[in-house]
Symmetry: C2
Subunit: 423 residues, 2 copies
């Protein structure tokens, strides 16, 4: 309140979502004479590219998250607010929150990201959890670790096999990472720890409806990734969609597979807040923004990150962290130009630095504008890039330490089941 | 099953509870010709003395826990089973599990510890959570961090004050640690991170019904601890019991205090499994065991740790980690003596190495058999002792790193709100 009173005459920029787009926009406006309110459901910025490591017990939740408030403590024009936006009222220029209050804005930036989408099969959701938040990651970790425990206690061989069958739906980077790490856990991490089962006999399946895994990569790297997965023992199935998922397993083509652990890495849809903007959305619920990332007809509203769809040649800008950061910085440029009465910057252009995905221990694929490589060096490159971009000095050190330990010992340090199993 | 078949003729020792007593007994039986089943609700051994650090966002949950299965991977006569014991059937010599199965034993050791007790006021439980498991710690962390967030968003001054009022009920070591750390978080960790509130104005109260905090310590150390707490800004109230707790606050004597965050560190009761043993229990639900830690009349059943009450001079053996470890090791000795037909060891005697409690940054009290000290050196002693006893090399390194960072920067690295707030 103190700050707000003093700065009541400066324009109020409300940024909804503290992901890469929102946080980068906030930081880029540090020296602008605006007052910023950064609203987020949680209290932290999440380094989403490493979320699968929390889900597979390699890292602790706080290793890949940092409190937004702490990151922005020195930025006097920014106020962080923990709360959930439920609707945008364009006429009143206000964001309505779940607690009944609302926030008025002069300029609004909506960047609340994406959530899982089950292609009209929401009934699959409880049986095939997706991976978007830290809570999702901890729930998946609990499922994976509990499955081995249940198998150890199960006398019936068929049921034991169902507990030892793991399927990942979706062959994009997250699916490949999850499947590769699951295979490693079964073959190496849990070796010699069970008495009634051999975790190495676990079956890990990666189910991709399209013709190949890592479809956004060149074909040669997809093939390399598929070979690396096979070497790790992953049963990769392409070209057939999953037609049903229930508590006991799934159906792939004509085949019914009994599996108690199915993870969803297939579809995403923009956060439901997009629907309250009352504009046409694409099939994934994303907002088709103008070339300056504003809402058509509403120059005071910007959309960015996974919530926005932006043309990029024949394709659209991919839903990756660098794209979200670039959008955030671009929007800050537009806002600053307006404040100074300068001409608007040229339309947003995504700068593609390349594409990388890891498969497991010493295996990754990297595509840097035609400079393609895979294997050990790709894996080292992936590791360095990810640690470099992690926020917070301590996090980088601890993540490196965890990885070094995991590399030498095959152990995973976050193998702790948290929360009670859902019945 | 493979192992069990091979070892079917060796006696089966079932140990229920993977805390200090159960784990130490299991390890001490490594070379005995028994087959051991260690049953636990969770998958991990928890280093409970540092649990308050997880609750106050100083450490991550996996920092203070290690999978039981991993600890015991090399011990071929031990099988770890994740499951919940619901009853002991002494006549059938079997433990019944929550999943409907049961485990037959030749020898049974029950060491399922303690849970919170609200002295007949179970309706206080949702408003004043206690601290016994990692899930408790994460729930308390969420409450503490969310309270500051709610205060920041609250325009009404009285309600804001209620969000900034924290009370800890119970002036034992856990209560003192929680209150001291809460004061540090408010005064130092969160400084400069809020715009509408000054976290330094938060009120932290420590409520002890008895005449002094740390009642199990000598009076001079209690007085020193109270002075250290006061210096940290904690409002210590002794001599009056809390007479009511609800969602909005609590009543202490004639005084009603509005506080949204009340933590319970006052009473414990033995785990409900003790009741199924069908023997007389003390006021706290603990089993009064024979001098050799067996159930009177049942030499094949042992109780240990917080579940057992054992005479120690005029007092009973305190519910601390060293006592539980000693009981575990002692029970293994008795079992081994029986296997070899040797005479039973002399009755259990608790070896008291001393008593220590930390209050906050550079403040602790230590009582080593009359050698009493406090302040900086006591704190350093506490720190070294706790890191030394932490299980797992990586945990020690990461905990030390977290503490070093926290010491120099006043930051706490696990300030991540996990899970949704309960309505």
């Amino acid at each position: 309140m103190r700050e707000n009173a003093r700065m009541a005459d400066t324009p109020h920029v409300v940024i909804v979502g503290g992901g890469f787009a929102g946080l980068w926009a906030t930081r880029a406006l540090a020296s602008a004479s605006v007052r910023i309110t950064l609203l987020d459901r949680g209290n932290h910025h999440l380094f989403q590219p490493l979320l699968y490591q929390v889900a597979t017990a390699g890292l602790s939740a706080p290793d890949i998250a940092a409190p937004l408030r702490h990151i922005l403590r020195g930025q006097r024009n920014a106020t962080v607010l923990m709360g959930e936006a439920v609707a945008v009222d364009k006429a009143a220029r206000a964001v309505r929150l779940a607690n009944g209050t609302s926030l008025s804005y002069d300029t609004l930036m909506v960047c609340t990201g994406a959530t899982h989408a089950y292609f009209g099969h929401d009934e699959w959701a409880p049986h095939a959890p997706g991976l978007k938040t830290l809570d999702d990651a901890l729930a998946i970790r609990r499922r994976i670790l509990t499955a081995f425990e249940r198998a150890e206690a199960e006398p019936d061989p068929a049921r034991r096999t169902a507990w030892l069958t793991f399927a990942v739906v979706g062959g994009g980077p997250t699916g490949v990472e999850l499947a590769g790490t699951l295979a490693e856990i079964a073959r190496h991490t849990l070796r010699k720890e069970f008495r009634n089962i051999d975790p190495g006999c676990a079956r890990v399946m990666l189910l991709e409806a399209g013709p190949r895994v890592l479809a956004t990569f060149p074909e040669e790297l997809s093939a390399k990734a598929a070979r690396s997965l096979a070497r790790l023992g992953v049963d990769v199935r392409t070209g057939k969609p999953v037609s049903n998922i229930d508590a006991a397993g799934f159906v792939l083509g004509d085949e019914r597979v009994d599996a108690h652990t199915v993870l969803w890495a297939a579809g995403v849809a923009a956060s439901p807040l997009a629907r309250t903007l009352d504009v046409p959305l694409d099939r994934a619920g994303r907002v088709a923004v103008a070339p300056d990332l504003t809402l058509p007809g509403h120059p005071e509203i910007f959309c960015a990150g996974d919530l926005a769809t932006v043309q990029w040649g024949e394709r659209t800008v991919p839903g990756v962290a660098p794209a979200a950061k670039q959008m955030g910085t671009y929007i800050a440029d537009v806002i600053r130009a307006r404040l100074f009465g300068r001409p608007a910057p040229p339309p947003f252009r995504y700068k593609d630095y390349g594409n990388l995905a890891t498969i497991g221990r010493r295996a990754a694929v990297v595509d840097l504008h035609g400079f393609r490589f895979s294997g050990y060096f790709a894996w080292a490159f992936w590791l360095i890039a990810h640690v470099f971009f992690l926020i917070g000095f301590r996090n980088r050190v601890v993540v490196l330490l965890d990885w070094a330990m995991a590399y030498w010992t095959y152990q995973r340090n976050a193998r702790i089941v948290l929360g009670r199993e859902q019945k």
